[in-house]
């Protein structure tokens, strides 16, 4: 090895900024250097991209346990859906109840790790629903699907509360959504679509508020971030669809006005909250997409008598480019500013 080139190279190293070694930097290092496959493999192994042995083993253990539980639960649910007539009714009930008792006993007496406890509570929660389904199937109780989901939701509340497991909370939220939607359909007999839009967005907005504000979800944990963003995306999507219906509906009702006000509250309030407090660029991007779509529909609806379609389409094509460009420039500026602030806080 040429020591002079290494020494002169080393002098330069002192002046190099310690740019975080991500995939992009490794690609640029390859492009601007001359490394063979073995040296590049060394560089990748030195980077944070590849996991360490202990990290991979922990992740693999969690994956196998979680996937195993998921597949096992799915198998059990499929089995009862098969509606195997040859099995006595007491045997069917006993099988599910035995499963619940076995899992609960295992958690109490074997004192497993925290992750296994969370998976165990999730298993019990799913099996509770299976138990109610089997009960309803055997005794043909005539209960609505609403009663089934209501019972399921109520009976797992305690486990959800103690689990501290975001996936179970998310599943619980799905059950609440199903319960209330089915109540509106089957019990109240509501046919107005605006009611569904409003109720769904209200429930999930409250859930999001609880998750962000009361639970104070740790955004460094990817599971919390994923769940929060999925809920946010759902609320914004439903509100966008709702507003689109309102724009093109020639009837106006009290509920359509409420939906408009709720949408404006979400857009303005949500933008302020995610700019000032949480600094989450994803929510701002989702809000921007919604506003872009709604503005397009509003222009088409309210100016279709003022302009011919040729002029309107021409105008809208360039308006969308301009609006998207302005939104992107501003979002990128804000994102860059937040990254710098984070970096300074870290230093």
């Amino acid at each position: 090895m040429d020591l002079e080139s290494i020494d002169s190279h080393f002098q330069e190293i002192e002046n190099v900024e310690n740019i975080p070694l991500d995939r992009k930097v490794l690609h640029l290092t390859t492009k601007q250097g001359s490394l063979d496959a073995k040296d590049l493999q060394f560089a990748y192994q030195k980077s944070p991209l590849y996991p360490s042995r202990s990290e991979w083993l922990l992740l693999a253990y969690r994956f196998f346990m979680a996937a195993g539980i998921l597949l096992l639960m799915s198998g059990i649910v499929f089995f009862f859906a098969y509606n195997w007539g040859g099995l006595h009714k007491f045997a069917k009930l006993a099988l599910v109840q035995t499963g619940i008792i076995a899992v609960a006993s295992g958690l109490l007496f074997f004192k497993p790790s925290e992750f296994i406890i969370k998976l165990g509570l999730t298993t019990i929660s799913v099996l509770t629903g299976v138990l109610f389904a089997v009960f309803g199937q055997i005794y043909q109780t005539g209960a609505d699907a609403y009663d089934f989901f209501l019972g399921w939701t109520i009976f797992i509340t305690a486990w959800v509360a103690i689990s501290s497991f975001p996936f179970l909370w998310f599943f619980y939220l799905l059950l609440i959504n199903m319960t209330i939607t089915l109540y509106l359909i089957q019990v109240d007999g509501v046919s107005d679509q605006y009611t569904y839009y409003f109720v769904l967005t209200l429930i999930n907005s409250i859930a999001l508020g609880i998750w962000e504000y009361l639970i104070k979800a740790n955004r460094q944990v990817w599971v919390h971030l994923l769940c929060i963003r999925i809920i946010g995306m759902f609320v914004i999507s439903v509100l966008t669809v709702a507003l689109t219906s309102v724009i093109f509906d020639h009837r106006s009702s009290g509920l359509s006005v409420i939906l408009i006000l709720f949408y404006l509250f979400w857009i303005v309030g949500g933008a302020l909250y995610y700019v000032k407090k949480e600094k989450d660029i994803s929510f701002l991007a989702m809000i921007s997409i919604s506003v872009l779509i709604i503005v397009n529909f509003m222009i088409v609806r309210f100016f279709d008598n003022s302009f011919d379609y040729i002029s309107m389409f021409f105008f809208l094509s360039f308006l969308n480019i301009a609006a998207t460009t302005i939104l992107v420039i501003n979002l990128m500026k804000v994102n860059k500013k937040w990254k710098l602030e984070n970096k300074k806080t870290y230093e």
């Binding site: 900024e17 083993l57 196998f64 991007a285 969308n320 992107v328």
Partner: protein, 363 residues
């Protein structure tokens, strides 16, 4: 081996190179310049979605405007305008040095230009759907290789997959879906497992990596969704669904390869064979659910390479395809439940084995 240093930077890497006696002959000035450009233009995922949706809406309105102007009556003009707009769309990122503010315009222009080229060709009397799909495929591949814009490259990958999908449907060559699954899965697996080897042989390939990986992973899931369990498009009696085991076998091979490379990288020797055999058997039990196997592949690849988007996609795909497996028409619910329970027990056993092995320091 493989100690993670979470805050490892370029300087640390250069010091490590020196200690190993490796001279990277790095052009630091150019690296800094390119890094600054990349950092300034790196857009979060949902901002990219905003760009894509905005461009799509703009392109739709512009094509509507052209349609209303009866522009489409002149075949030659459509073709010429299509070529000019497409060329302009490709030129914009080069001129602006991939500035993210020009992405909406360049992507909208690309969509408009590409559609005009295909319509122009069809208008010249060539009404064959097959030929128009082949032109779309070739155009997408050309754009993928010559475009400088990340979004244009991803769109080109989606467009080529869509063209291939439609070609298979048009030809009623249903077994072809398995090859489409194989192409996407193999590309993604090979590019991640052999990343250092690929880049060392062709150092400029780095600029295509993200686009191809993201494009192929989403296309893989989309092909599985719209060709397996999709009763809307396919008559279950006419479509020969019994060839789905081909996709599963290919995906199982890729999962095992990924697992093998991971165990080699981490120096896990003693438990390598039991792990590979256990996972192989569990996946063979799931042979009728290629969607679940594809989710496992993406998750393993994400864990191997630190590509977190793949880990997220893998988890969502596993949940989604487990749910969709309920509607699989190939077999009874009883058999499906036995398969799921069997695979579930095996996975639990593997998890328990890893925990015991770690505690006993056998792994």
């Amino acid at each position: 081996m493989n100690k993670i240093i979470k805050d490892t930077g370029l300087k640390d890497l250069l010091i490590a190179f020196k200690e190993e006696g490796i001279d990277p002959q790095l052009n630091l000035k150019k690296l800094r310049e390119e890094y600054a450009v990349a950092k300034d233009n790196k857009a979060p995922v949902l901002v990219q979605v905003l760009m894509f949706i905005g461009s799509l809406i703009a392109a739709g309105f512009f094509l509507g405007f052209l349609g209303l102007c009866q522009f489409f009556e002149s075949e030659i003009l459509i073709l010429i305008l299509g070529v000019i707009i497409t060329a302009g769309a490709i030129a914009i990122p080069y001129i602006s040095k991939q500035n993210s503010s020009t992405e909406p315009l360049s992507l909208a222009a690309l969509i408009v230009g590409s559609i005009l080229i295909v319509i122009g060709y069809l208008s010249l009397g060539n009404f064959s759907t097959t030929v128009s799909l082949i032109i779309s495929l070739l155009l997408s591949l050309v754009i993928l290789f010559i475009s400088a814009s990340h979004l244009q490259k991803i769109t080109a990958v989606y467009a080529s997959n869509l063209s291939l999908f439609c070609l298979i449907l048009d030809a009623e060559f249903m077994i072809g879906f398995n090859f489409l699954v194989l192409i996407n899965a193999s590309v993604v697996t090979f590019l991640l497992l052999k990343e250092p080897q690929v880049l060392s042989s062709q150092s400029r390939l780095g600029q295509w990596y993200d686009a191809i990986l993201n494009g192929c992973s989403v296309s893989l899931i989309a092909v599985l969704i719209f060709s397996v369990n999709n009763r809307m498009y396919f008559d279950p009696q006419s479509m020969n669904t019994s060839f789905w085991w081909i996709s599963s076998l290919l995906l199982i091979a890729l999962v095992l390869w990924t697992l093998y490379e991971t165990l080699e990288l981490l120096g896990i020797k003693k438990q390598k064979i039991p792990l590979l055999v256990g996972v192989g058997i569990a996946l063979m039990i799931l042979i009728q659910a290629p969607g679940i196997i594809s989710g496992i592949l993406l998750l393993f690849l994400g864990l191997f390479s630190g590509y977190r988007i793949f880990s997220g996609q893998g988890i969502l795909a596993i949940f989604f395809f487990t749910l969709m497996f309920y509607y699989n028409l190939n077999t009874t619910l009883l058999f499906k439940s036995m398969l799921m329970v069997g695979a579930g027990i095996l996975f639990l056993a593997l998890g328990y084995g890893i925990k015991r092995g770690s505690e006993n320091q056998n792994i």
